[in-house]
């Protein structure tokens, strides 16, 4: 039988705010344990939450970018469960009335565009972190709370703003799910609400997956897959779970609704045992907070400030600037890269050349040095300057790369870099002739071969000129002068 896979994703994105969701503590990562804490985020008796306006703004930005309806009034709710990393033993989240509903995200899989429904976008707070010390019980995994001798809790992360984005069950394959996550991550990064690094946990997702016979209208029994810590893992985990579903059904078995844990090493999912009973979270409206009612003027302002979104910008890059769709896609993955391109185009009109440098050498440099685009020590004016110098022959492509690298490393002015290292191209005939004479003198055998009609040797000789000039010789002119010298 042919099966159709049905997947919906619940994504949690850490919002890029300076302070926590309900208090003024910094959200900075990596501080010593329990230093970014206060009476509010440690749930001291009597403390009260106050909603972080910036977090609301970022969630509204996201909701707009996902074509959602911003609800005129939404409320926070308390979700109860006892766990030491949750100081109040309830999480402030949104339940019945979320911040935004009914949106969609367009993804592109194998050249086909597809619209994925967004059920809701809501705000909530993150929990803290537990460290379990001591041996595990026999048969149990170490590092778990059961059986450990001691558990330590770090409340630094407690109260970090999280945004939950829930998709409709519109995804039809693990690949679509992975593309959806990547597209969503790019969008969140682009609008600057989340750095969207799955490996670091700033973007997390759980998937609901089920299968049904092709043509069936009813959904099959779903399982929830957790612990997918990269885009690749989303694909792999869902492939494994899809396969398991089909196998179980083909063997005449039944899928049980449960939560399953993906193991990155074995690439399989296992049922999360120990969850003996279903949780009753006893949601009820958070009485310490007033309803979230963003003024329509404010929402309009946010909408305006959001500007052009990546999908539209990509279309424009292809249509107006003549970029290849693939390259345009890479450029709009980050707003600052796309902005950089547009700034440079104003100073130097050949967009394709600029784009090639951006996705080529500059991207490679940032990758190697683990830097983000915002840490780039290069201005659009500098890149335009280098490109112009290539065009007028002052710099060879190769030298230009050296100059670029130096500017990227030091942030110095292009002119200064060139002057300090004498890196301009040698286009002076006398100077070049001196080098050529030297090359002819040092390579009599090759000169003989050339004169005997073996023209391919020319490449070698030009190479020698370049080498002796430390790459500064104007290659075209060198070629020309070399031929002249050899002919005489």
């Amino acid at each position: 039988m042919k099966y159709e896979t049905v997947i919906g994703l619940e994504t949690h994105a850490q919002l890029l705010t300076q302070s926590k969701m309900f208090c003024a503590c910094p959200t900075k990562f990596g501080a010593p344990p329990n230093t970014n804490i206060c009476p509010i985020c440690t749930g001291q008796p009597g403390s009260l939450p106050v909603t972080n306006k910036k977090a609301v703004e970022l969630a509204i930005e996201t909701a707009i970018a996902l074509n959602c309806k911003i609800e005129p009034s939404s409320i926070f709710a308390r979700k109860h469960y006892f766990y030491p990393d949750l100081p109040k033993d309830y999480q402030i989240s949104q339940y019945e009335l979320p911040l935004a509903t009914k949106g969609h995200l367009e993804i592109e899989v194998d050249g086909q565009k597809k619209r994925i429904g967004i059920t809701r976008v809501h705000l909530e707070e993150d929990a803290g972190k537990l460290v379990h010390v001591g041996a595990a019980l026999p048969g149990r995994q170490a590092g778990r709370i059961m059986g450990s001798e001691e558990s330590l809790v770090d409340y630094n992360r407690t109260g970090t703003p999280l945004m939950e984005i829930v998709s409709e069950p519109d995804l039809r394959s693990p690949k679509e799910a992975a593309v959806y996550m990547q597209t969503l991550a790019n969008l969140l990064q682009y609008i600057g609400v989340c750095d969207a690094r799955m490996e670091e946990g700033s973007l997390r997702c759980d998937a609901n997956i089920s299968i049904r016979p092709v043509g069936s209208k009813e959904f099959g029994v779903k399982t929830e897959v957790k612990n997918m810590n990269s885009f690749k893992a989303v694909d792999k985990a869902l492939l494994a779970e899809e396969k398991r579903h089909i196998e179980v059904v083909e063997e005449g078995g039944r899928i049980i609704q449960e939560t399953r844990f993906f193991d990155d090493i074995t690439e399989t999912t296992t049922g999360m045992r120990g969850k003996e009973y279903a949780h009753d979270y006893r949601y009820f409206p958070e009485p310490d907070l007033v309803p979230l009612e963003p003024e329509s003027e404010w929402v309009a302002e946010i909408r305006k400030s959001l500007g052009e979104l990546p999908a539209a910008r990509k279309e424009r890059f292809v249509g107006d600037l003549g970029l290849q769709p693939e390259i345009a896609g890479l450029l709009v993955a980050s707003k600052s890269t796309a902005d950089f391109l547009e700034e440079t185009v104003k100073l130097y009109p050949k967009a394709t050349a600029i784009a090639n440098w951006l996705v080529g050498d500059i991207a490679a440099f940032l990758n190697e040095n683990k830097k983000s685009f915002s840490q780039l020590e290069l201005t659009p004016a500098q890149l335009a300057e280098i490109l112009k110098l290539i065009e007028d022959g002052t710099l060879s492509n190769k030298i230009a790369k050296t100059v670029l690298l130096e500017v990227l490393k030091t942030g110095k002015q292009v002119k200064d870099v060139i002057a300090e290292s004498g890196l301009t191209q040698i286009s002076n005939e006398n100077e070049l002739n001196k080098i050529i004479q030297e090359v002819i003198k040092n390579n009599p055998k090759q000169v003989e071969q050339f004169k005997a009609g073996k023209e391919t040797v020319m490449m070698f000789l030009v190479g020698q000129v370049m080498k002796l000039s430390k790459g500064r010789a104007n290659p075209a002119l060198a070629n020309q002068l070399l031929k002249k010298n050899l002919a005489s």
């Binding site: 001291q44 709370i145 007033v290």
Partner: protein, 485 residues
């Protein structure tokens, strides 16, 4: 000295007839003498209080060049469910028997900034759950008018301290009557402000949508003075309302002519002690004689108020009290072997029976499958109660009723019967559900125990109820009677 009001002492202070140190010492001397019998306090803050008194005296010495607040140098007792930085805050619960908050409640900060002297923390029913202060894990507090009677609750410590002149001013918190009922039982003044008028930041939450902090004082002027300091928007409490704070002393005008006063029919019928009824009826006559227009009003939804309250308040309490789990603060059971036994034993050992009862009731009301039938329905009835009040307060400027159906009952009289205890808040609970301001003031005696008159106003109309209460006070002598401790 300890028997005087804050406004009397303020006059002595600015005329340099006494000092804050002198007053503070007099109050502590009084405490020393009376506390054996009354036991109003959980913790005394003598050393720091005297330091604050000395600082206040330095400020006073520079007045009037640098003006001082009406609270500068005045000793204030704080209910032990309001956080005080560095001072034990137990909520009269075993589970917080060792809890020293790292911060001050906003109300405490405001009192300190006004120059008040924090003399100590007063006893209450555990987590403010109760009507007699007998549910305290600390000890029982006695009524200064009759040591065999309860002081009311949950702010029984604060009310008893004011009645016994063991404090000049006190704070209370009121979720279903916890300021007004003990004020009535102890023959003092207790004001529950409109929900949102005073910051709840630092008040250990019982039921967040109902809790409100207010003053417990010897007279109306002192209540106005305390409100001037405590009221106002607090950025740390999202439910506090951004409305200007008037000078409540200016509302103290001896005139109720043409004021429309509604007597609540439902609170003058069955279940109300005849002598209490008679005293309230007499108070109504006093208002009429002073030129007010008396109207009888009916609020039919009152019938459901107690049931509604015990669903909403317990639901919120079950959530608010989840954090007392032995992990971060307070007492952790020594019998804990692992995480589950830590939770179970800590909470089993740490909470008293009434608190456990309410956590269980509230957990049940919020549980899947029961939420709609209990919690959601209670919210709907709450809306009906609000609407009944809106109607009544459209036709009237204020409403009056007994504060409690009876005078102070005997210690131990109702501890075995929670339901009869719950019913002693029958007149105060509807006001919290509607979020309205209300005051209790003495209006008579029965069996040598005080009777309380409740005056209810429109939301944020504290000035009107203060004016009515002040006029009543000026034209009667009940507030002048003092217990003989």
């Amino acid at each position: 000295m300890h028997g005087k009001t804050a406004h009397e002492l303020h006059n002595l202070l600015i005329n340099k007839k006494t000092s804050s140190v002198e007053i503070t010492q007099a109050v502590f001397a009084r405490i020393e003498k009376a506390e054996d019998k009354i036991r109003a306090y959980v913790t005394l803050n003598k050393e720091e209080a005297l330091e604050q008194a000395r600082a206040a005296d330095r400020q006073i010495s520079r007045s009037p060049d640098i003006p001082i607040s009406q609270l500068t140098g005045i000793p204030v007792a704080v209910k032990d469910n309001m956080c005080t930085k560095g001072i034990l805050t137990t909520c009269s619960s075993k589970i917080l028997s060792n809890y020293i908050p790292p911060y001050d409640a906003t109300v405490v900060t405001k009192l300190k900034e006004a120059g008040a002297v924090i003399i100590g923390k007063t006893n209450l029913d555990e987590f403010a759950m109760g009507s007699s202060t007998e549910n305290s894990a600390n000890h029982v507090t006695r009524n200064p008018w009759n040591l065999e009677a309860v002081p009311g609750g949950s702010s029984g410590g604060s009310a008893a301290a004011i009645a016994a002149a063991e404090a000049i001013l006190a704070t209370g918190s009121d979720t279903g009557g916890s300021i007004r009922q003990p004020a009535a039982f102890c023959g003092v003044v207790g004001l529950k402000p409109t929900y949102g008028r005073v910051s709840r930041y630092g008040l250990v939450a019982f039921a967040s949508s109902l809790d409100q902090i207010g003053p417990i004082t010897k007279d109306m002027t002192d209540a106005a003075i305390m409100m001037n300091v405590m009221a106002g928007r607090d950025e740390l409490d999202s439910t506090s309302v951004d409305l200007p704070v008037p000078d409540y002393r200016k509302a103290l005008v001896n005139n109720v002519k043409k004021m429309r006063v509604g007597l609540i029919k439902e609170l003058m019928g069955q279940g109300i002690d005849p002598e209490v009824k008679a005293a309230v009826k007499k108070a109504a006559d006093t208002f009429a004689n002073l030129g007010a227009e008396m109207i009888e009003v009916s609020l039919p939804s009152f019938e459901y108020a107690v049931a509604t309250y015990y669903l909403i308040a317990t639901a919120e309490a079950s959530s608010n009290l989840a954090r007392f789990d032995g992990v971060k603060f307070g007492r952790r059971s020594k019998a804990a072997k692992d995480i589950l036994t830590m939770y179970y034993n800590t909470r089993r050992e740490g909470f008293g029976p009434e608190v456990k009862r309410r956590i269980m009731l509230g957990t049940y009301a919020l549980s899947a499958g029961y939420y709609d039938a209990y919690y959601l329905k209670a919210l709907k009835v709450r809306t009906l109660i609000k609407q009944d009040f809106e109607k009544a307060l459209g036709a009237c400027d204020i409403l009056i009723s007994p504060t409690a159906p009876t005078i102070a009952f005997k210690l131990g009289e109702k501890t075995a019967d929670p339901l009869s205890m719950y019913l002693s808040d029958i007149a105060t609970i509807p006001v919290n559900l509607a979020g309205l301001p209300a005051i209790s003031l003495p209006c008579g005696f029965s069996n040598k125990l005080p009777i309380g008159l409740q005056i209810i106003g429109r939301a944020f109309a504290e000035e009107i109820i203060l004016r009515a209460a002040f006029t009543y006070e000026q034209n009667t002598d009940w507030h002048k009677a003092k217990p003989n401790v």
